[in-house]
Symmetry: C2
Amino acid sequence: MGLKSVSETKLNPNVSVDCVIFGFDSEKLKVLLIDRGQEPGAESEKVYALPGNLIKTDENLDQAADRVLKELTGLKNIYLEQFGSFGNPDRLNKESDLQWLKSIRAEPDARVITVAYYSLIKIDQYELHASSFAKEAFWYDIDDLPTLGFDHLEIIEAGLKELKFKSKYEPLGFELLPEKFTLSQLKHLYEAILGTDLDKRNFRRKILKKDFLIPLEEKQIGVPHKPAQYFVFNKKKYEDYRQNVDDFYFQL
Amino acid sequence: MGLKSVSETKLNPNVSVDCVIFGFDSEKLKVLLIDRGQEPGAESEKVYALPGNLIKTDENLDQAADRVLKELTGLKNIYLEQFGSFGNPDRLNKESDLQWLKSIRAEPDARVITVAYYSLIKIDQYELHASSFAKEAFWYDIDDLPTLGFDHLEIIEAGLKELKFKSKYEPLGFELLPEKFTLSQLKHLYEAILGTDLDKRNFRRKILKKDFLIPLEEKQIGVPHKPAQYFVFNKKKYEDYRQNVDDFYFQL
């Protein structure tokens, strides 16, 4: 077994965690991927995957997700929320995935069930530092993803579905935007999450009517178009608004 | 290893599924439990647990949940929805659980991560038939649960939290009620899900205003109080109503 077994003995061969980290760069919705590298001897190309790995014997699932994300991408103190587990028997059906597992795992043939987590972060507030088996970590446009290892595309799609659902009931978008943002950025974000174009005037009217955006005096500078006004999010007003809607809603 | 290993070899030692099946008997919210029995030689008492077991090598998680529920309780063709995975390293911390596992499992000490499913069913439409290691299956009041094996209490509490959340946005309650029901039964159900008392007159006024209940000519018979009117649920009207609320809500 050699050196490999020293750390491998502490890993559960059948259970992993994977992290779907969403970000937004004012234009596009992004997801965080790593280049996990290929098995030794293979042609040197990037192999894209979600940050994920087996859980350790002495940690719970949440702890495993925190550790794995930090080990592979350098991101820490991120609020991760579990959104589903993936356990199709054919998750491992590509020869390249199997060869890669053989190069790093004690039981490469073991069936692995993965518990998926997601998070929304402001891209500009975190630096990425790939380490462990991740050679690099990058933000990728959600609507232009490369080929991914295992069933990671399916996991990202499920995460996006969760994001769409939650965006109806929670002010999720504001976790992805910078502190101050323009209405155009907010519109782009919702278009990316909902996967649909929104009418500019309707959007403006509806969102401003809701009264939980605070307009700032400040405007964009150094942009090649007419500078847009900045807004910040009034969380208190949003909570009030939400309470009213909850009362109006089916809840009795 | 003997006979035990014949079926055990097909089970994944580290991953199980557990089912939280909610029902309602017109008065109380219930959850389906089994008597899993004790290890051989122990004093004969009931040992309560959720219907759950290890997954098999050749099935996915949804299939495992369907199979395990059917094997232990006889329930089949139930729509099960995954709501979370539970993997604390100390899930197996009671001697009685360990002794029981030793009596039925090939690797009783293995750390098991469980994927939890939930469902809502009309109690009166299903018969229970315990088999496999379940000696009996019964409906238990959610607010008067017995001591449970492993972390099953925590799993039920998480399922109930999911149910509360969903009950704000979906007409879940109607899946638990008989086809025709009284307003009093509907009120009891929502009180059970939300864990709070509701004012009778406000409840009546609010729910009737929503216009998706259809009053029937028919009234209760053989009840010791003034017979109450029956209602049925108008799913079409509810969907219309919901669409309006979605538009009113945060969705843009």
